[in-house]
């Protein structure tokens, strides 16, 4: 065999081993969620077992995990919508319109990406307590907007900058004005990017833990709080918490794969086009 072939074979081996490392923890939990306690608490891995839906029944029944799912959906949709409505026009302004101090504003928004959640959650807790908003959806939506809004602005700015300028100029000649050019030309042309941005916001909000831990109340706890409450308790219910984890992962996998092409751009704030 040629040396080139060995490189290719070696590459498949490396990727294969890495995929195994990635998938084993996920598959293990997925299998646990379908196992009875006897099959989970065994000294050898039980690959052959009779699947049971008991864990899911319990999680969605007596543990009412769907409350967490509903709360997460409300908070994720709220913060995503707010971020898009406010962030998209701002992104367009930064990409295309004459704005005083444009670079300065762009850097301020980049700075917000550096602010650690823990630095915000302490003052936010005090502020929301004063405003009597602790434990409300409003507090969580506001907190999640602190990371989603900068992402929307930076991602959408990069999409708007990629549009050929002549299209919008042509629209202006037709008499629609600059806002019309934004609404009727730029926005439709970047709709795949906008969809991906929205999906990423939903994803980040869905996964967020610290703000939810501090700012949510009994009625508004999100999925990560629900899952965390299953771990580390005295009698750990492996089957139940595994079922909860699977229920939390399914929407994430659907959203993540839908936005796969833009995932890198979102995670790097538009710095890598991917």
């Amino acid at each position: 065999m040629k040396r080139r072939d060995w490189w290719v074979i070696g590459s498949y081996v490396v990727v294969g081993v890495f995929l195994l490392w990635v998938l084993v923890p996920i598959v293990t939990v997925a299998l646990n969620s379908l196992k009875s306690p006897q099959d989970i608490f065994s000294s050898t891995p039980q690959l052959v077992f009779t699947p049971t839906g008991d864990n899911y029944g319990k999680v969605l029944g007596e543990l009412s995990f769907q409350t967490f799912l509903v709360n997460s959906t409300i908070v994720a949709l709220g913060s995503t919508l707010l971020s898009i409505v406010v962030g998209v026009p701002a992104a367009y302004a930064l990409a295309r319109l004459p704005v005083r101090g444009r670079e300065w504003w762009a850097w301020l928004i980049l700075f917000t990406r550096m602010v650690p959640a823990v630095a915000l959650v302490v003052p936010m807790f005090v502020i929301f307590q004063r405003l009597q908003l602790l434990g409300t959806y409003t507090a969580l939506v506001a907190a999640h907007t602190t990371f989603n809004l900068p992402i929307v602005i930076w991602m959408m700015r990069s999409f708007f900058e990629e549009l050929p300028r002549d299209l919008e100029e042509a629209a202006q000649v037709d008499g629609t004005g600059r806002f019309g050019a934004f609404l009727r030309v730029a926005l439709p042309l970047t709709s795949p990017g906008l969809a991906a941005t929205g999906v990423l916001c939903l994803l980040f909000s869905w996964n967020e833990f610290l703000f939810a831990l501090v700012l949510s109340g009994r009625e508004t706890q999100t999925v990560p709080i629900g899952v965390a409450s299953f771990i580390g308790t005295v009698s750990v219910d492996w089957g139940g918490s595994s079922a909860a984890a699977v229920l939390a992962m399914i929407p994430v996998f659907v959203l993540g794969l839908a936005a796969q092409r833009f995932l890198v751009r979102g995670l790097t704030f538009g710095a890598v086009k991917g």
Binding site: S11, V14, P25, P123
Partner: protein, 286 residues
């Protein structure tokens, strides 16, 4: 021009929201860090102590331990992720078929919530019924051992975030022009030479972006540590983010918690600025 102010009108709501939600709370925090006050007596007048919380911070041995743990965590997690990520990205790059499919699976860990990731590993490394214990016949309590807890947390970070490194470095490799490789193969260069001369120099900007984002995010690590070890055993996995959280929401020492959160913020901004300056010099970030 009739629409001269349009840009400002479109930008204003976003800037106001960012000011209200981020800049405002940060200033509030900086201001209140000059007071000594406990959450339990929120209605009592706060005692102004000036920089006392900050002098306390620099003399606090727990802060020293937490910073040291955090630095170890950052250096090892980011270092391993970079090396492993480069290896897998290069392997993907060499593959002739199945790249997209492999990519779809590789990205899964980084879109899972860190809390769920913690749960996966909590069960995988369980000393009695975890897969690792079952397969090796050992019973090591990874997260309960003062020597092993930090390495185990680093492994969890590597599992979750190496995919991020792979995707970025792989994207960088794909953007290299094919004519460069053709020229090199005409010269009879082998794979090692091609990587050393062409691939690695071409992906330097992507490597720096990886370093920036991974450093920034591992430095503030919270979720997995909170769920898996709560900083223990003892202080062996205490990180600066966790200590801040505990100071505020377990000890209710809000003035000190705010000083700690300002400390985290300032150090993150300093570290990031160094990276960003380097990136700008290479015109990666505009």
């Amino acid at each position: 021009m009739r629409n001269k102010g349009l840009g400002h009108w479109m930008l204003a709501p976003a800037l106001l929201l960012l000011l209200a939600l981020i800049i405002g709370p940060l200033f509030y925090s900086a201001g209140l860090s000059a007071y000594s006050w406990n959450l339990t007596d929120i209605d009592l007048p706060k005692q102004f102590t000036g920089l006392a919380n900050y002098t306390k911070l620099f003399g606090d041995p727990t802060v020293g331990t937490a910073v040291l743990n955090t630095v170890i965590y950052v250096v090892f997690a980011v270092g391993i992720e970079l090396v492993l990520g480069f290896l897998v990205a290069a392997a993907l790059f060499e593959m002739t078929k199945g790249r997209r499919l492999a990519n779809a699976f590789i990205l899964l860990p980084m879109i899972i919530a860190p809390v769920i990731t913690a749960l996966l590993w909590r069960y995988l490394l369980d000393p009695q019924f975890g897969l690792v214990a079952q397969l090796t016949g050992t019973s090591i309590g990874w997260f309960g051992d003062a020597q092993l807890a930090l390495p185990a947390l680093i492994a969890v970070d590597v599992w979750q975030w190496t995919p991020f490194v792979i995707l970025i470095l792989h994207a960088g490799m794909l953007s290299i022009g094919t004519e460069q490789f053709e020229a090199a193969s005409i010269d009879g260069a082998g794979r090692p030479t091609i990587y050393r001369r062409i691939v690695i120099p071409a992906i330097v900007p992507q490597v720096m972006i990886v370093l920036l984002f991974r450093t920034m995010d591992t430095y503030r690590i919270f979720d997995t540590v909170f769920v898996l070890t709560k900083g223990g055993p003892g202080l062996s996995t205490e990180t600066i983010g966790l200590y801040t959280y505990r100071t505020g929401f377990s000890y209710f020492d809000m003035g000190y918690a705010m000083a700690l959160s300002i400390f985290i913020l300032v150090t993150v901004v300093i570290i990031s600025s160094v990276y960003i300056r380097l990136l700008r010099r290479r015109e990666v970030l505009t």
